[in-house]
């Protein structure tokens, strides 16, 4: 390495250098200022401070939703609302923000959790909800009720269930399955050529059936007062064994670029029966017209319980919101008072069920065809795990099933291990 010998100083050079130093210093100062201002624009106060509210949404898959919510926010006169449309992992980003205490005032949430409620991150919305509590079904209130208080306003109900193409079943001479075992068998028989019988997720159904099978086996996930984990029963073991058999027989579509939440694979004819949420109904109907029907998850073994898994988005208010009253008022205006917007939001883009029974009955798009079938099934068999089914328990159970399905592990041992982990988590939550 050669070194320059440019250290001999002349008065001119030194003068130039001192000017350069000044500029460098100015540049450094400017950089620091930029950094500081960039930070405060994005972070800090979210909607710019004085009187503004920041409203968070996750990235809905359907077109037009973002526009609709931004329009509503623009038209809301009582406060200035900025919509934060969040990509990727919404739950963890939301929780990070709530923890740091600023920049989120009103937000949607499909995983209201007891720890956050008890440590005071959510605003108590019991007073907003009490007058209208009886307008919601029990299933709709379960996700938002913790310790007797209500922490959120239900926005949309998302039923998830099984969808199939009747023509394919007819062509193969298969009756619509009435038990889970029949369902798995149908999947095996419908596999041929480019088509697989079942598309229940790239993980072989571990995620979607982790809650469904315990429910339709009659065991449930937790007992009524959420102190015991109840999913480890022989019937549940049998259900997972049937799932494993179908996977081993090659009846499942796996390795699709998008997961089951995207109807593209089903629409391309890659699977005859699919797990899907109601949001995808328009896309499926557009592709197949009358040739798409829905069914609840049928019972396992001797059970008589079917299930439609329900997830729900709920509007909440951050306890640390800059203007708590304004935030609560806005949430109420949008999700309690504005019935028209709720209807439009529910069926204008994807398909969801408005959680208030009256509003749902009033929505014309849900009054016939497959949509009505789904609404009725949801009313009869809708199930949601509730806030005390912590994600850690869900992970333990899903992990167990992934091992059962793709690594051929023994269902009984895996389930026992999952139960132990889940119980441990539940116990630590209770205290």
């Amino acid at each position: 390495m050669t070194f320059s010998r440019s250290h001999r100083l002349s008065p001119n050079l030194s003068a130039r250098l001192s000017r350069r130093t000044l500029l460098a210093g100015a540049g450094a100062g400017a950089a620091a200022l930029t950094l500081a201002s960039c930070g405060s624009n994005d972070g800090g106060t979210g909607a710019g401070g004085s009187g503004g509210l920041s409203q968070w949404y996750h990235q809905y898959g359907e077109d037009g939703v973002q526009q609709a919510v931004e329009d509503w926010a623009a038209n809301y006169e009582a406060a200035e609302v900025t919509v934060a449309w969040t990509l990727g992992d919404y739950a963890s980003k939301l929780s990070s923000r709530l923890l740091s205490g600023s920049g989120v005032d009103v937000f949607e949430n499909n995983q209201i959790d007891p720890a956050s409620a008890r440590s005071g991150l959510y605003a108590d919305l019991t007073d907003v909800m009490d007058p209208i509590k009886d307008q919601f079904s029990e299933v709709a209130l379960k996700p938002v009720t913790i310790d007797g208080k209500i922490w959120g306003i239900p926005m949309i109900t998302d039923p998830q269930l099984l969808w199939y193409r009747p023509s394919l079943l007819e062509a193969a001479g298969i009756a619509v399955p009435t038990t889970f075992e029949e369902l798995m068998q149908a999947g095996i028989e419908l596999t041929g050529g480019d088509q697989k019988g079942l598309f229940v997720g790239n993980d072989g159904g571990a995620g979607v059936f982790s809650q469904a099978i315990p429910v339709v086996a009659g065991a449930g996930l937790l007992n009524d007062d959420a102190t015991q984990v109840t999913f480890n029963t022989p019937e549940v073991v049998a259900g997972f064994a049937a799932l494993q058999a179908a996977y081993k027989a090659g009846a499942m579509l796996v390795g699709s670029p998008t997961d089951w939440t995207d109807p593209t694979s089903f629409n391309a004819g890659l699977a005859a029966i699919t797990w899907q949420g109601m949001w995808a109904l328009p896309a499926m109907v557009e592709q197949f017209g009358d040739d798409v029907a829905a069914m609840a998850i049928p019972p396992v073994g001797g059970s008589t319980t079917s299930a439609v898994m329900v997830s729900q988005w709920n509007e909440q208010v951050a306890a640390k919101a800059s203007d708590l009253d304004a935030a609560k008022a806005m949430a109420k205006a949008q999700w309690v008072d504005d019935a028209d917007f709720q209807k439009e939001f529910a069926v204008g883009f994807g398909f969801h069920i408005p959680p208030r029974t009256a509003t749902a009955a009033d929505t014309t798009e849900l009054q016939d065809g497959v949509a009505k079938q789904v609404v009725d099934l949801t009313t009869e068999w809708g199930f949601t795990a509730g806030p005390f089914w912590a994600p850690a328990m869900g992970t333990a159970l899903t992990d167990a099933i992934i091992r059962i399905v793709s690594e051929n592990a023994d269902p009984a041992t895996e389930l026992a291990a999952a139960q132990a982990t889940a119980q441990q988590t539940l116990d630590s939550l209770a205290s």
Binding site: L9, L99, S116, G255, P391, T398, R403, T421
Partner: protein, 336 residues
């Protein structure tokens, strides 16, 4: 005056030069006062950052690990070693360590062999060395996210149209759902990291190879050992030992901290969940248990330090010690 470099520093011609040189700091060169100020001005930014963003967080996190902290950054209830016990007995944690071991067993030797092999290959090219080196080096500029995208959706997609499945198809093999079947997901995970890393280690090895004195090779030629395995084994490999040791340590540390490609390719799969992804899920994922996460972070850090120390003890890291050995060897060989 200025030409006498052995003159003691205090006898300078400072008074004359001070007026000439505008902007020069008026100070006694080597004087204690000037150096103290300069030292602290130079060091303070780093020091402040070190304290604020390394010391304080680690102390806080360590403290938090003894408390219950779910969904909140502040300690709520003292639980002693409870978090540690829960973390260590969690089957998912031990599985993640198992994942790391399996992963390291694949990635470390394979990367080492491939990079060394490619380095030797490139080094032996009479022309266009720089071009080939650049091509191999190019993927190092790509991110793991981009790599994961291409690997998951383009190369190893489970559909028949994926590159890997098309390749298999020419041999009549059925398409494989790579990311959903064991053990094929390892092929995806290892190959993406190979693509992204190998170029860097090739450069390291090339530098090491080019340091080997030609004299050794010429001496070997005279002894009848020409290019080939024997030359590699008796001359090249021993000379490369310090580079190999350094690369081994880097590879192990990188394997332990694997995160990006795992989170993007196989986020929900327990069989391919390395320690960091597990920690991320516990602390910042759905569970948001900061007390438990803090305990975990400490445990993982301790583990990594132990592994690093063990590795350097076994494989010897000191370049100086090897240099001495080599110099002695050179001398004895030259004498022959």
């Amino acid at each position: 005056m200025s030409g006498n470099s052995t003159a003691p520093r205090t006898t300078t011609t400072k008074p004359v030069e001070r007026t000439e040189v505008a902007g020069a700091k008026v100070v006694r060169p080597g004087g204690v006062r000037g150096s103290r100020l300069a030292f602290w001005v130079f060091v303070t930014p780093f020091l402040v950052g070190l304290v604020l963003f390394t010391l304080v967080p680690i102390v806080w996190s360590s403290g938090l690990s003894f408390f219950e902290a779910r969904g909140t950054l502040e300690a709520s209830r003292f639980v002693g070693l409870d978090n540690y016990a829960r973390f260590l007995t969690d089957k998912a944690f031990t599985n993640s360590l198992g994942t790391f071991v399996v992963y390291a067993i694949f990635i470390v030797p394979v990367t080492m062999a491939v990079s060394l092999g490619l380095a030797v290959l490139v080094n032996g090219l009479p022309k266009f060395q720089a071009f080939y080196r650049s091509v191999l080096f190019l993927p190092v500029a790509c991110s793991y996210v981009v790599g994961a995208l291409v690997w998951k959706l383009g190369l190893f997609s489970g559909l028949p149209s994926g590159v890997a499945n098309t390749f298999l198809n020419t041999f009549g093999v059925d398409p494989i759902a790579w990311l959903n079947s064991s053990p094929y997901w390892w092929v995806v995970l290892v190959s993406v990291r190979l693509w992204l890393q190998v170029g860097f280690y090739v450069v390291l090895f090339l530098a090491g190879l080019q340091r080997i004195p030609q004299v050794l090779y010429e001496a070997a030629m005279i002894d009848g050992v020409s290019a080939g395995f024997r030359r590699f084994r008796y001359i090249t490999w021993p000379q490369l030992r310090p580079t190999v040791a350094a690369v081994l340590l880097l590879l192990l540390v990188a394997a332990f901290q694997a995160f990006d490609e795992f989170l993007n390719l196989v986020p929900a799969n327990p069989a391919t969940r390395p320690p960091l992804v597990y920690l991320y899920n516990v602390a910042l994922g759905a569970q948001r248990d900061f007390g438990l996460g803090s305990a975990g972070a400490l445990i993982l850090t301790a583990l990594m330090v132990v592994v690093a120390l063990l590795q350097t003890r076994f494989f010897g890291f000191s370049a100086a010690e090897d240099r001495n050995k080599r110099t002695r060897k050179n001398r004895s060989e030259a004498r022959r």
